[in-house]
């Protein structure tokens, strides 16, 4: 799974916000607010990775139980796919 090209993360007032640029901004009108782990996963999925790799990366970066990390990554990936943010 990989994120579509055309999104950029901007840190504004300590918050991570994803906005579209270029061609994508013609079809996507809005902004996506991410928390810290959301921003981490967003950057991670800028490259092609599986859910399992996302879980391993999240566990490596944060002090989180693997079960919780898997649930979070799956939810995150499902939201990305449901909103058409993936390639």
């Amino acid at each position: 799974m990989k994120l579509k090209k055309g999104f950029v993360i901007r840190v504004v007032g300590g918050e991570s916000v994803v906005v579209p640029v270029g061609e994508l901004s013609k079809t996507f009108h809005g902004m996506i607010n991410l928390n810290e782990t959301g921003a981490f996963l967003w950057k991670f999925y800028n490259e092609e990775h599986t859910v399992e790799e996302g879980v391993a990366a999240l566990c490596g970066e944060y002090d989180v139980a693997p079960e919780q990390a898997e649930a979070d990554v799956r939810k995150f990936v499902e939201t990305l796919q449901a909103n058409g943010f993936t390639e």
Partner: protein
């Protein structure tokens, strides 16, 4: 972890989030903001805007981001950095004000001294730039006339 507000209008996002972050569209604020490349951060207007502020307002259904030249009673005289016509915008049409932006990915605060110098310079050189734009238009017109004199359009009859 993630919240998206794709279906909301900018004014709704400003009210809910207290901030709108989005791409720039159009050429009216060139060279500062390039179409669909740069990102602007808008905050709701909390006080009367002042000279050099960049206001977000609505013109019909379109959102416009242009610079305040000076405040007037009940509104502002506003113009885009790359425009040559002033606009009288009523106070109630103003949705927010630009507080920071990302130009070519570089973060710029609207309180930054370098940025303020740029904005001042843009206003100061307006007459000079307008003169050259008009001159360019006239030269283009003359060239077109000369071209038509030597290469007239062929009649289809």
């Amino acid at each position: 972890m993630m919240e998206s507000n794709q279906k909301l209008k900018i004014e709704d996002v400003l009210e809910q989030n207290g901030m709108y972050v989005g791409p720039t569209v159009g050429v009216s604020m060139l060279p500062m903001l390039k179409n669909r490349r740069d990102t602007v951060v808008i905050k709701p207007k909390t006080k009367r805007l002042k000279r050099l502020d960049v206001a977000l307002y609505k013109r019909g259904d379109a959102y416009v981001l242009h610079r305040v030249l000076y405040p007037i009673d009940g509104g502002y005289i506003i113009r885009g950095d790359n425009c040559y016509a002033d606009e009288n915008v009523p106070e109630e049409a103003i949705l927010g004000v630009l507080v920071e932006f990302f130009r070519k990915g570089k973060h710029v605060l609207c309180t930054d001294k370098k940025y303020i110098k740029y904005a001042e310079r843009r206003l100061k050189t307006y007459k000079f730039r307008r003169f050259f734009v008009r001159l360019k238009g006239k030269i283009r017109g003359i060239c077109r006339k000369i071209f038509r004199t030597f290469f007239p359009k062929k009649s289809t009859n």
